[in-house]
């Protein structure tokens, strides 16, 4: 049996390939300039019945960068991500992804256009096997079985634990194993924009390190990432740009380093 403690650089390369950052990765049509906004959100509002969860926020996700959204419990982070993926109804605002208007698009079209999310609570398909979950990750891509299997093999190299349990039902995996599966499955879709909702939740420290390291690696090879985290210190460390969300409003923004140094942030989110 192998532990995740393998050659780190090897792992990161594999992850980068698996994430679609390899040369054959399609180039975005319009905003091909690194740092230009790939996704622009303007005045996004979401309400659950009477409760306003997101109260008009605007932000950009620059191409090829990691952007992070941090905030306390219930601030509306997950809601924002769900709204981007079209899974909750928007009460207003616009979402422009590389020239396309996502705000009225059906959820499956959003995924097809390259915006893929690893949702909070993982959303693994518990009655399917680990392997089938990964196969379904490539649902939107019309690729042959051989190619699909090769890509799954790369995910397995990234998370050897998954390979050991490939034929087991995803529902029987431990919490951490399911989290790995969810990330691996999202990478199978070769996203252009990866939305991650608390990817480190429930993972052992060593895996958390891996994940943050690999996120940085995939990002370096070209994938745009939007990261929602409560692990604020880690998130800010790898983020190029960061927003702080409080009760549905963006209250602070800046580069990751700026916010790391911000006393308010330190007080509220970084603790002692």
């Amino acid at each position: 049996m192998s532990t995740p403690q393998q050659d780190q650089s090897q792992l990161s390369d594999d992850l980068a390939v698996a994430a679609g950052a390899s040369p054959h990765h399609e180039e975005p049509a319009h905003s091909s300039q690194l740092g230009q906004p790939l996704l622009q959100v303007r005045d996004l509002r979401v309400a659950y019945g009477q409760i306003q969860a997101v109260k008009g926020i605007s932000f950009d996700l620059p191409l090829g960068r990691i952007t992070t959204l941090v905030g306390a419990n219930g601030a509306g982070k997950s809601t924002t991500l769900l709204a981007l993926s079209g899974l909750v109804k928007k009460a207003g605002g616009s979402v422009d992804f590389d020239g396309q208007d996502l705000s009225t698009m059906a959820p499956h079209r959003i995924v097809q256009s390259g915006v893929v999310q690893v949702a909070e609570g993982r959303a693994t398909l518990t009655t399917l096997t680990v392997h089938e979950n990964l196969e379904l990750g490539a649902y939107t891509r019309r690729i042959g079985k051989a190619e699909r299997e090769a890509e799954i093999e790369r995910i397995y190299q990234l998370f050897p634990r998954l390979k050991e349990r490939a034929g087991g039902l995803a529902g029987n995996m431990s919490g951490g194993e399911q989290q790995m599966l969810a990330i691996g499955r999202a990478l199978m879709a070769k996203p252009r924009l990866l939305l991650l909702d608390e990817p480190s939740m429930g993972l052992a420290p060593i895996i958390v390190q891996d994940i943050f390291r690999t996120l940085r690696e995939i990002n370096r090879s070209g994938l745009t990432i939007f990261l929602v985290e409560q692990n604020v210190r880690q998130a800010l460390k790898i983020a190029d740009r960061a927003y702080v969300l409080e009760t549905g409003r963006i209250v602070l923004e800046g580069s990751g380093q700026q916010l790391l140094g911000d006393p308010k942030v330190q007080e509220a989110y970084l603790g002692h």
Binding site: S85, G86, L87, A106, P107, H108, I110, V111, Q112, V116, Q117, A119, A123, T124, L125, T126, T127, L128, E132, E135, L136, G137, A138, Y139, T140, L169, G171, N172, M173, R185, A189
Partner: protein, 293 residues
């Protein structure tokens, strides 16, 4: 006599399985115990009867017509009733109750239109003479039903187990939200399922209507009761299970008639169902799964 009874059991089992295939499919994907399936089944039989009687359609065209007619009916039910319920996330009992209402409405509407009398397909729609093979009697229709149910099961099973589409359907069955996140056109597949399941129900209606030779507005109800037993026996939503459950019920019924007494038939069949569930709480072929804590 035993040989003949085994043949009888096979064909009865296939009749049940044929009905149960569409029924289990819709449960498997939409998670709805669709109690209007019996009514859809009846509409298929009546629909084919109309086009065969009035337009002189040959049987295959009648079958095709029934498939399409019921498929569209299934789509309409999905669009008008099930979709709004999905949209508001109603718990699974609610759509079941709604389909009871749909079933009542369809059954009574058909009765209002066509009357309550028994109808039948014109003589000669299929040959009613039986083939005699070494003392065994079997009609062409029975043979057809047996073959068709196996073929349909095989096709459905292959497409559900081995293809991305099938995996997608299972994904939806478990969690539409997760399916959306994978880029699956969930609503589209719901429609497709409703169409296919109802279409299969219509096919079953024609074939079983031909078999029993008596069509009446409530002909779907007894089938529905048996169908529920069948899909539970087989494991809900499991296509292979529907087939095996159908055969199991067919054999249980026929053998209890042959060796215990026909007045105990249903007691034996349902007693068995009761026992099976106690021993295997998810049906004979349902996968037993512990819940993750």
């Amino acid at each position: 006599m035993l040989e003949q009874q085994l043949v009888n059991a096979l064909s009865l089992g296939s009749v049940y399985a044929l009905f149960a295939l569409g029924f289990t499919l819709i449960f498997g994907v939409l998670g709805v115990v669709n109690l209007s399936h019996g009514a859809v089944f009846m509409v298929g039989a009546y629909g084919a009867l109309q086009v065969i009687n009035h337009f002189g359609f040959p049987l295959w065209a009648g079958l095709l017509f029934a498939f399409l007619l019921c498929g569209l009916l299934g789509l309409a039910i999905d669009f008008l009733v099930l979709k709004p319920l999905r949209a508001r996330g109603a718990p699974h009992l609610i759509p079941m109750i709604a389909t009871i209402g749909v079933g009542i409405a369809i059954n009574s509407a058909m009765q209002g239109i066509f009357g309550a009398e028994n109808l039948r397909f014109p003589a000669g729609t299929v040959s009613e003479e039986s083939l005699t093979l070494g003392g065994l009697h079997l009609t062409a229709l029975e043979l057809g039903i047996v073959l068709l149910s196996f073929v349909l099961m095989g096709a459905l099973m292959l497409s559900l187990k081995r293809t991305q589409l099938g995996r997608a359907m299972r994904a939806i069955a478990e969690s539409p939200k997760a399916a959306y996140l994978l880029g699956i056109n969930v609503e589209g597949l719901f429609y497709l399922t409703s169409f296919a399941a109802a279409g299969l129900g219509g096919l079953a209606g024609v074939l079983i209507g031909l078999y029993s030779n008596a069509l009446f507005p409530l002909m779907g109800q007894p089938m529905l009761h048996k169908g529920i037993a069948v899909i539970i026996l087989g494991g809900l939503g499991d296509v292979r299970g529907a087939m095996l459950g159908g055969l199991f019920l067919g054999f249980a019924e026929v053998l209890s008639i042959a060796y215990i007494g026909s007045d105990m038939r249903d007691a034996v069949a349902f007693g068995f169902l009761f026992l099976v569930l106690l021993l295997r709480p998810k049906g004979l072929f349902g996968s037993l799964q512990e819940r993750k804590v």
